[in-house]
Symmetry: C2
Subunit: 233 residues, 2 copies
């Protein structure tokens, strides 16, 4: 054996710490994850971790970043709605409670640490493999003439993930099949049809869709509302 006094450095040590952090995250969650526990699990000590990362949030984000996005196999059920339900369900499974608890926790700290906010935002706004799946699903639906040709803005591409995450986080529980159905049937499918319609109508007026010249109160008028702002929900 290497003996009781072998001492790792650099990359291998870093990997060990990140692995430990990830395992700890899976076992106790973000709220109960402590630097000390990660250090212990990695067989190292706190200062080694603090020398590399600024705190829990950064450590966890680094551990997360190592996990490569899983390319979801694009579902192919034969209908737009079926494909979307399958896709949304898969997202809902993967966005399990550990993941969401982590995101919620990191978010809480992101408000105080701009660099954490930046890392998190980057992580959440680039669901690259998912956007590909959405695109293929829609393309296939267009090919089947189930949907008029439509171009999907970035916002719409990332919407599935945003919807599911929002749902999962606000109810703090796994997203039910019923909810998935509602997201697909009440929101996403109609949205796709609407986008197609709007693009067919507005034709020339690219980019900013719909009634493109109409924005009356659009700029920064924003009306009254300057007062109380106590509540949102």
């Amino acid at each position: 054996m290497t003996g009781p006094k072998s001492r790792r450095r650099g990359a291998p040590l870093e990997q060990a710490i990140l692995d430990a952090a990830w395992d700890e995250l899976r076992e106790v969650g973000y709220a109960r994850l402590t630097i000390e526990a990660v250090a212990a699990r990695a067989g190292t000590s706190k200062p080694v971790i603090y020398r590399r990362w600024g705190g829990r949030a950064e450590l966890v984000l680094a551990a997360w970043a190592r996990k490569l996005p899983v390319e979801p196999e694009t579902p192919d059920t034969g209908t737009l709605r079926g494909d979307l339900r399958t896709l949304f369900s898969r997202i809902a499974r993967r966005a399990d409670s550990m993941m969401n608890e982590m995101v919620a926790g990191v978010m809480g700290e992101a408000f105080r640490h701009p660099e954490v906010a930046a890392l998190l935002g980057e992580r959440l706004s680039n669901p690259s493999p998912l956007t590909g799946a959405v695109r293929s699903i829609v393309d296939r639906a267009v090919a089947r003439a189930e949907l008029p040709p439509v171009e999907l803005p970035h916002r719409v591409l990332r919407l599935p993930l945003d919807l599911v995450r929002n749902e999962s986080m606000t109810c703090g529980a796994p997203v039910s099949e019923e909810t998935v159905g509602s997201l697909v049937d009440d929101v996403y499918v109609p949205l796709l049809h609407g986008l197609a319609a709007v693009q067919a109508a507005g034709g020339a007026a690219e980019g900013r869709g719909v009634a493109a010249g109409s924005g009356v109160g659009a700029g920064s008028g924003l009306g009254a509302g300057g007062g109380v702002r106590e509540d949102v929900g």
Copy 2:
């Protein structure tokens, strides 16, 4: 004066504590809010607070619940798009960083305390005054023939708030006018048109819209994906 030894009890004391909690929240935010500080500000002591609430999350939720939802004056700019932009902007202003930091923080704890999750979920899924505003805006657009008649499912009614909150929380910064524009133009307006179209077409097939009989992979098949579930974004 009442003298240095006047002692509040019951409701008045409770109100004082909740006010203190709210003020503290506004000043230092959820992450840095401590029970001790709230007790000090309210001129009372920790045990008094712990006798009434289980911890930060419950205390803060109670303080929040006292703030009555502000009835937003329904904007009236003359166009659907203008009204929506104004409404979304107002939501974005009210969902300021304090609010979102609080929600994020409470969410973090909600995963460990089911009762907190319940309170939070209830609070977030009933944006009653907002749904009214959305309805009026849409009704007016329908009256102007800017939009075919359309019925809005609950999910669609709460979508504006969900979209803005999601945006605000994931980027940890105020939602820009540009983002608001994207939410309205790329998502919400097309969605409304799509809903109208779908309802006009599907006519009889109420409730669950679109291709109502098609759900192939809908049930619980959910395909592969059972393996890695490491990443979402």
